[in-house]
Symmetry: C2
Amino acid sequence: MSPAGLYIHHSSKEELLYRISLRGHQVALEVISVAAATSADPAQRLTAMMRAFVRHHARHHTTARVLNYELGSLSSEHHREVVEIRRGIERLMLETVEAGVASGQFHTSNPRLTSVALLSLTVDVARWFRSGLPWTPEEIADHFCELALRMAGA
Amino acid sequence: MSPAGLYIHHSSKEELLYRISLRGHQVALEVISVAAATSADPAQRLTAMMRAFVRHHARHHTTARVLNYELGSLSSEHHREVVEIRRGIERLMLETVEAGVASGQFHTSNPRLTSVALLSLTVDVARWFRSGLPWTPEEIADHFCELALRMAGA
């Protein structure tokens, strides 16, 4: 579809950005939720979530950049809606870290800040990933799963 | 200075972005270089670099966002110049991780990807840091130093 064609269907640039943001965040929440549901064991669950989210951000790095860096251009109403989905993703990570601490599998003095760091590591893949790197998205995901378990004190 | 005043002194938006990027990257390189020079011990050196860079990205998060997300808007010549400074920062982190592996203090199967992850964690602070969070830049830096040593397998 041409840029002109897109504008016929969307009332403004903000509306278009909102549609892309809403759909992108819904997909991201689904990707990490599906991964989280694969195991009740906190370490396996964290590994599945990290693997899925790193691969997602590497493969869709162009879209992910728009989703993560253009939030400030949304109207306040649309911003609230998208931030609510992001909170769902953040809750899922925090619950996983806290479950691991409760079960004695994870050891961290600050579960909330550790879960912020874990998500940060996956989201920022979209910034630095590009074609031509010496690692595939799968190799990056493998290594980041190892780093995540260390960060959680597994 | 007003926006109009700025444009008198810079021939184009690209030129202005280049000046901001160049200066910002020079300062970032200096901040992490000064931290790296405080100790020859890899663990102490890594801690000093992480602490300095996390604090820098939290305190100057607005400028840091421009530096990290607007690289693609630079001319290819200016882009090359700025990327060269970024490579200096990346080399410093890689050398620190490799020195720790060589001394037996760090344990990682992929020093290069681990050093990418360590820098990623500091740079992405600029994206998620905002006022009103429950942690000061210093508290975030403290916790991230702990995470960094775990990631490096200290």
